[in-house]
Symmetry: C2
Subunit: 172 residues, 2 copies
């Protein structure tokens, strides 16, 4: 039986920091460096966080993270892949996220998509996420994808990766 | 620790047959009886199934199933409740389903909502659903909620209930 893997969207497949930086620049003419955001949650890092995240196409216009498309396609051929994204809090994002996946990851069937609030119900063999809160209660192998907000802490339980090539080296 | 329960929406909380019958009557001036639909899947029972299900507000305008609001509120106070709905196939439904839950079940927090394709990843202690395909691989207690499409078969593994009062009698 193939292993089941749950892959997060924001900050793992979708470059959400890029979107925040772009919106902030257009809104406030500010260009923060990623280094200056280390250790801050996104709503601490961007003063108008809620305004940006609730604006139409915030999620749909995000760029895919480097190498994610090619490597996820290979992962999809070897694992039971599910995309698991926290989305319910932002109702506008729901439809955008499905359309975004269809656009950049057309090999992902609708049956493989899960949009949730909490990820507590999600079971499987491997989880890739950029939030400790999602990985900490998962009972399989856990991989933390580096993003500025998670760089300041380490709990030793999760494998840290900085990019999709490192995910490929672990999974493929 | 509280038991975790996953409750389906369509055909368990939301009266989807009522919506199909209403749309079919407005569209074709046909009024099928529920008895005549026994054993037919919804897309077999309603000739313009896809047209209705993809029309705006099909899900948002559904009535809650009798007694579901009062009894689910009690369930919510005694269990870790999650609403788990197959929705990704119908992108219009995503936002409608969240708004519908907020309207009729305001005690349900966004963290408790999961919209998915397949329900394979969902783990927990109890699942209530009207589809055998969702219950059959669930590893906890399974409750099948009677709807015309599931009345023709029985596999002995699931507890059958015909209404929310019966769910209350089992869970509360």
């Amino acid at each position: 039986m193939r292993e089941r893997i749950a892959v997060d969207m924001d900050g793992v497949l979708a470059d959400i920091y890029g979107q925040f930086l772009k919106h902030e620049f257009e809104d406030l003419n500010i260009k923060q460096s990623l280094d200056s955001l280390i250790g801050k949650l996104e709503n601490e890092a961007f003063s108008n966080h809620d305004k940006y995240i609730n604006s139409p196409n915030f999620f749909y216009d995000a760029d895919p993270i480097e190498d994610s498309i090619e490597i996820l396609e290979e992962v999809n051929s070897k694992y039971d892949l599910f995309i698991v994204s926290s989305a319910i809090q932002f109702p506008l994002s729901l439809d955008e996220k499905v359309r975004w996946l269809n656009k950049y990851f057309p090999f992902i069937h609708w049956k493989q998509i899960v949009l949730c609030g909490s990820k507590e119900l999600i079971s499987g063999d491997v989880m890739i996420d950029d939030h400790f809160k999602n990985l900490d209660f998962f009972n399989g192998k856990t991989i933390i994808f580096s993003q500025p907000h998670n760089l300041n802490r380490e709990n030793g339980r999760h494998i840290r990766v900085d990019n999709w090539k490192e995910i490929g080296a672990i999974l493929l």
